[in-house]
Symmetry: C2
Subunit: 197 residues, 2 copies
């Protein structure tokens, strides 16, 4: 039976972006299959009483330095988005819609890179449309699908499920029932996956 790694993320989370860039290598080393679980981080915060690190001024300042260190450590470009924080509900519904029409891989790459490598304002529907079209996706169809009740419900259920299983932030990983929070815990994620092989 293939081992599975569940990756709960939000496009607005820079640490989710950093983690995302590590998953290909991790999957190759462990043989695990990554299951992408879009969730709404704002909903997770609301449900758990947790809050964004940027809500504390000292944490916000530190996060900038910390993200730069991680980017250097991983050998990826420095993350920046002058529009951060951005309400991501439409982007996350779009991820669900993309999964349902088998274009998730292209959608995921386009949105995540536009958010954190290009620093675009993905709170603006016109910008999102341009980003998706550039990636060869049917932006209009995805936008329409994102408004379907089934898609909205699926994002709500995914978010509630994450919280019910213990999540309070992003990225959150599950290997079976074992939960891991943060790109800085990928070491333990890999150990858990390797122990099951």
């Amino acid at each position: 039976m293939a081992r599975e790694l569940e990756f709960f993320f939000d496009y607005g989370s820079p640490f989710s972006y950093l983690a995302d860039a590590q998953l290909k290598g991790l999957a190759e080393r462990t043989g695990a299959r990554v299951i992408y679980r879009p969730m709404l981080l704002g909903g997770v915060f609301k449900e758990t009483g947790n809050s964004s690190p940027i809500s504390i001024e000292a944490k916000r300042k530190y996060m900038t330095a910390d993200l730069a260190r991680w980017a250097k450590h991983y050998g990826v470009p420095a993350l920046q988005n002058p529009h951060f924080p951005i309400n991501t509900i439409r982007l996350m519904r779009g991820a669900i819609a993309a999964q349902r029409s088998d274009v998730f891989t292209a959608y995921h790459r386009a949105v995540f890179d536009a958010f954190w490598r290009e620093g675009l304002n993905l709170g603006d529907a016109a910008v999102v449309r341009a980003v998706l079209e550039r990636a060869g996706l049917d932006a209009e169809r995805l936008a329409a699908a994102s408004e379907e009740h089934a898609v909205k419900d699926a994002l709500r259920v995914a978010t509630e499920t994450a919280v019910a299983r213990g999540a309070f932030g992003a990225p959150t990983f599950f290997v079976g029932d074992e939960m891991f929070w943060g790109n800085d815990r990928l070491l333990f994620v890999e150990q858990a996956l390797s122990a099951r092989s």
Copy 2:
């Protein structure tokens, strides 16, 4: 000039305890001198608006699993204290008093191990006294010194200094002006120390 690593800690912080156990090896590898800076974590939270991870129920649950993983990773005994959280103001004043009477090393070891390896109730002055006496320290003299204005002021100043320099939690490390938060950033601390050698 010897490189210096400033270690701001509170005995009530289990992640400070985990970090503390790594400092000897790190100092040997980098040649850095560790400067122990007792601070009052409760004061840091109050000043910054930050709060303990245990104030969010989901974080508290996760912290238990996370601490167990780190203990296993470092090869140290699992941390536990049924009395946690404990008001640490007297313990931290005691650390300052111990530094001023050149018995810090013994005090630090005795208090940290009693807190997290033995899980004793160090909120109880009689327990603290027994722990210090067992370690061969003059508990009565340290208790008296902890009540001196100069010692109280020194702890207050250390805490305010930590906050002024950017701290919002524990452990917090400084290499020059570069700040690092958490035992999980010792990797970056070591890189910073090595880059300066």
